[in-house]
């Protein structure tokens, strides 16, 4: 759409800018402030320079949490994106079942995150949970509070349960927007289903898939509540992801300096990846 140049538009944006600035800039400055100072309590602060940043960047604890976080996010994306796409392709396009499918599928997205954790906790309990009991009945030792592998399996399954619907709904929105004429043309040309998918559906879905990957990347990288409720970051530190580690440092131990430095590094990592995705997405839109 052609847009008129009009500097007065700033007045329309002003309320948003003020509110978000209050919420984002002030706290972020607090964090920056802490990240370069040392304190022994009583509001007495000393200049610490970049010490905390060096500490965090070289600390093994941070490396481990970062690696776990990357593995988790990678697994989540590898499973949820193709799965969501397959389900969206198989969904009916017309008729009464569409609404039923959409409503049921959106349900997990509206459950408070700690309830999701509690729900999976109850489901995966080895003695009284449906999932835990079933796996144990198959003769596989399963106890997510004791074995890292069982904990990871439960968390990944929980995330797939929780968020695949987002991918399904996005892809579905993309699919229904493809005009019928495209399919008819493909039929006339005698295209096979794979060709229809590869040359008609996939290119049309490129945009929604970018949004899906962007949202899933950001949210899985920030995962906190569900995992804390389910495993508390354990067994040991096996499921301590970045947010959990950060909250432990900041609110648990009140190590403000290191926590602040870690916050900034964490935020910058997300920002960098999201910026890459975002520029890609916007370039697609411009085309």
């Amino acid at each position: 759409m052609r847009k008129t140049v009009n500097q007065k538009a700033w007045f329309f944006v002003l309320p948003v800018v003020l509110l978000v600035a209050f919420n984002a800039v002030i706290p972020l400055m607090t964090v920056v402030n802490y990240s370069v100072q040392e304190t022994f309590g009583d509001n007495v602060f000393f200049w610490a320079g970049l010490r905390w940043f060096e500490d965090v960047v070289t600390s093994e604890r941070f490396h481990d949490a970062l690696i776990r976080q990357c593995i988790f996010t990678a697994l989540v994306l590898i499973i949820e994106i193709p799965l969501g796409l397959v389900i969206a392709l198989a969904m009916p396009r017309k008729g009464p079942w569409v609404s039923v499918c959409l409503v049921l599928m959106a349900l997990p997205l509206l459950i408070p995150w700690n309830v999701v954790g509690a729900m999976w906790n109850i489901l995966a309990l080895p003695d009284i949970g449906l999932l835990g009991r079933s796996i144990n009945a198959l003769g596989i030792e399963f106890n997510y509070t004791r074995e890292p592998i069982a904990a990871w399996f439960t968390i990944i399954l929980m995330d797939v349960w929780h968020w695949t619907s987002l991918v399904v709904l996005l892809c579905y929105a993309g699919l229904v927007s493809i005009p019928d004429a495209y399919y008819q043309a493909a039929k006339v040309d005698g295209a096979r289903p794979w060709a229809v998918f590869r040359y008609i559906q996939l290119p049309k879905l490129r945009h929604v898939l970018t949004i899906a990957i962007l949202l899933r990347f950001m949210d899985s990288f920030m995962i906190y509540t569900e995992v804390v409720v389910l495993t508390g970051g354990g067994p040991g530190n096996a499921t301590t992801f970045l947010s959990i580690d950060l909250v432990k440092t900041a609110l648990g131990q009140f190590d403000l300096g290191p926590a602040a430095a870690m916050s900034l590094i964490y935020f910058l990592i997300i920002l960098l990846f999201s910026w890459l995705f975002y520029t890609l997405a916007m370039r697609n839109e411009a085309r």
């Binding site: 009009n6 538009a9 349900l107 509206l110 459950i111 408070p112 709904l169 579905y172």
Partner: protein, 265 residues
Amino acid sequence: MQKRSLVPILYIVFLLLPIYWLLNMSFKSTNEILQSFTLWPHDFTLDNYRIIFTDPGWYMGYLNSLEYVAINTVLSVSVALPAAYAFSRYRFLGDKHLFFWLLTNRMAPAAVFALPFYQLYSAVGLFDTPWAVALAHTLFNIPLAVWILEGFMSGVPKELDETAYVDGYSFWRFFFRIFVPTIAAGIGVACFFCFMFSWVELLLAKTLTSVAAKPIAALMTKTASTSGYQLGLLAAAGSLTLIPGAVVIYFVRNYIAKGFALGRV
């Protein structure tokens, strides 16, 4: 039945299983939960729900949650409306940078903001009020609302604005009488998303409240710690949190798919 409809059916069964298990637990007595493994409640009881509906400590949690979610939704969408209009219709100094800066707040991990928010809202005297949580949640809901509304507004041709001016409408009369009704679906979807992310978020909501404004989700942690391990009560409290979401989804069911694509398909 076609073979391919099996995929969504299996997926929906997978989605409903944990929900069923939660409901199942909520209707059981503590004895039955701990002593036997049953696929449905043999000893059907409503006691868990009775506790929640009679104890103000419990049901106030729901009201607190709904209160800050409502404040947040109204606030986010009403300030996002003019901003989204500006982004979709005009070019102005720094517009693209501003838009990306807004989006970066959607990417900010809540864990980073927990402690500074606690200090900020204590300093301005809003700690432990629904307003603190509502305002804190605008951090990620305003960018999202702007993004969605901008998508829907860009789908409305500019000729609509121009025709209205030719017909002698003032800007604000055009905006409220013609433009807002035109993008009503978009506003509904934006409200839905603000509701959703404010309703499900817990880390900030828990950090910014202590007693008076404690959300229901945070109350649930107390069943696990202080009063023994009351799984039935926990399950009942959890089951009740499903209802507002289900009601809201029902209202936007026809727009939900488009809404998730942020209005830009």
